[in-house]
Symmetry: C2
Subunit: 420 residues, 2 copies
């Protein structure tokens, strides 16, 4: 199911034999499900008839199919059920508590249905593992962008003279929340394997962001040192790192984290002697990370003069044999240029045929197990596996399915759907 | 060990009985270890004598102790061993392959020591689970900032008229890589519980970023649609969302994801009639997400006029009773203002006494299990548990420890250390 192409072998699929019901939308909980599907779990995404709120989320393919939905639901099965009807919710409850040893696990980003609550489900199946994402920790809603605003980082993002907060297009809190959910689910599943006990697990988007701000030292710094860190463009805090423009309009990010990196960087740019003289004149040891940071502007200007008079290719050539950490800035257009050469070169990426979209390069799992990548598997269409799942997982007969269709609990067959 | 305060009960600690050796530095692999420690695993961080490269990473407390190191190593035990000596590496190898059912698991961000490679360790203990973080997928080094540059997002971050790329201070790829490592480790551990087999697991920072760019639809959009998405300030792509300034210099992020959100937003700002007239004149249905996005500038300007003539408090008051998604922008200084009131109010945060730093508010785990939070536990000092771990985990006698000290494989006792 989770590997229709049959290309992944056992080694990259340690979660084979685990079945997860996912009632979700947007990024975090779908990413949790997809991450586990890529490790071999059979993940069944449940949506209301017509699909979840995110089924039309931009970006779209020309056909109107969401590239976002397709990207976050790869390798799952998908079913459509009328969740506004009690009969529909009961069917999903049956799915969750069924499945024997494989089953009893649900991921959701909503707790509005009493039939699908931890209390109801664990009364039906005591070892239920119930994983819930919320926005706020009180259960209220929030999205990555509002959580970004609440958690300090946008006021430290961007050029020194930026007029206001700068949000990031990377939904870092959605991504990390989705992965925390997966970590928690697997921890609870381990506990279940060892003790037979189920668990109820919750993660709030705002807690994930606040935890990161604390874990990285931002909160303790503000509380203890009473200093507010200032915006500092693309300088890396506490070490030497910034971006540089080249003569031909290229742009590179350079980081010299260690003494060795920085000596390499000065050597590659012909600045060893100049930096040594500066070091002596200032009485400063640039082998010390803190000193490279304190003098980042003068060191940066010296280096900028070198980069400004080189092409991107020349700068790359000079850096290639060093230990300096560097990368050119690439746009998404650059990443797919020359018939997607850079994606073709990456073992992470494979071309998939995505229903409703067409052939394109897509990432597999970034987890490599025993040298084996779990390749990308196309996402289903919304509701593609409704009858298959109800038949295989709940043992429903053809007449039982017909009755569900008749009552509108599941959608009619495609050829009977109202084209409007 | 992982809960010296004894405040967490069994429910929030499903990983009790798992022991992990962590040979790591910076963010990703330490976050992996800390996340598992917060779930009850006994995580032993191994560092070279004097501490890892990140032991002095900024921000620092006044004492010079790293708030970054302390933040990312909470709840672990820490040992110091001379990793440049074969005897030191053997000791760590012994630790990894020991521990019976609890042991055999290692997380590392380096594979430069043959004694600690998967090959060597799995020859000694066939069910070893070996988890490795690399920068590049070929094993080369990279850091979050260079991976940001390589993966498109900084060219979409910031105001429309930004001159160059804008990196984010949130190390999103470090954070997600660390959590992917934890997901993979737990998946491999489940496989080991069920089959007795070990596994080797690798994650590259650059793959994590590329996977996110693909999963969120950015790569497919660039490849299939041939359009390059433009920088668009704090507008949320494909829906209605942006920031607004208030009369008193406040700033809010507002997102209206659904028709209900947007109707609520227009009602709260007294714009229902104006928007209805606009909708009719333009022949556009603002209940449609795509239309709200297409007309984001005119809708945004109408709303901006309202926010500009209200104080932040008035705007918040008007939004509070709606379903609109919103948050004021808060700086880290705001988060710790009034004696850290906002942190005190959060169940995620508790005050800890951090050796070398002092008392401050720190986050526990954002995973809530059966209603129970795993509270923060102070980080150890570098090498604090060296002799305890070698005694308890390897059964070394006092004379054996004395010999290791004498040979410089482990540090001398504090009172014998060279103060220089």
């Amino acid at each position: 199911m989770t590997d229709p192409a049959g290309t992944a072998t056992r080694r990259s699929q340690p979660l084979r034999g685990m079945r997860i019901i996912e009632i979700s939308s947007y990024v975090a909980s779908p990413l949790c499900g997809m991450t586990l599907a890529q490790l071999g779990a059979d993940v069944i995404r449940v949506e209301p008839i017509g699909g979840g709120a995110d089924r039309t989320r931009w970006p779209l393919a020309e056909s109107g199919t969401s590239l976002y939905w397709s990207g976050l639901n790869k390798g799952k099965r998908a079913i459509e059920v009328d969740l506004s009807a009690e009969a529909g919710r009961h069917l999903i409850g049956d799915l969750i508590v069924g499945g024997g040893d494989r089953g009893g696990i649900v991921i959701s980003n909503s707790d509005r249905f009493p039939e699908l609550s931890f209390e109801t489900l664990s009364a039906r199946r005591p070892d239920t593992v119930h994983v819930l994402l919320t926005g706020r920790r009180d259960g209220g809603t929030a999205v990555d962008y509002t959580v970004q605003a609440a958690t300090g980082f946008p006021l430290l993002t961007g050029p020194e003279d930026a007029a206001g907060p700068v949000n990031s297009p990377v939904p870092a809190w959605d991504l990390t929340a989705g992965l925390y959910l997966a970590v928690g689910l697997l921890a609870a599943e381990r506990h279940r394997l060892l003790t037979g006990e189920g668990q109820r697990l919750r993660v709030a988007l705002e807690d994930v962001a606040l935890a990161a701000a604390g874990n990285l030292g931002y909160l303790a710094e503000a509380q203890l040192n009473g200093t507010s860190r200032e915006r500092d463009g693309n300088h890396v805090y506490g070490t030497f790192g910034r971006d540089f423009a080249t003569a031909d309009g290229g742009r590179l990010m350079i980081v010299a984290l260690t003494a060795r990196h920085s000596r390499d960087l000065f050597a590659a740019t012909g600045l060893t002697g100049v930096v040594a003289a500066l070091s002596e004149a200032l009485g400063v040891d640039f082998d010390q990370e803190a000193e490279r940071y304190r003098h980042r502007r003068v060191l940066g200007e010296l280096l900028a003069g070198w980069f400004e008079t080189r092409t991107l290719a020349e700068a790359e050539e000079a850096l290639r044999t060093t230990r300096v950490l560097w990368s050119p800035y690439l746009s998404f257009a650059d990443l797919v240029a020359d018939d997607a050469r850079l994606l073709r070169d990456s073992p992470l990426m494979e071309e998939i045929a995505q229903p409703g979209v067409g052939r394109h390069w897509a990432p597999g799992s970034p987890l490599v197990l025993d040298g084996e990548l779990s390749p990308p598997v196309a996402a289903p269409l919304v509701g593609q596996h409704t009858e298959e799942v109800l038949r295989e997982e709940l043992g429903l007969s053809a007449p039982a399915l017909a009755k569900l269709r008749e009552n509108g609990v599941i959608p009619p067959h495609d050829d009977e759907r109202d084209p409007g």
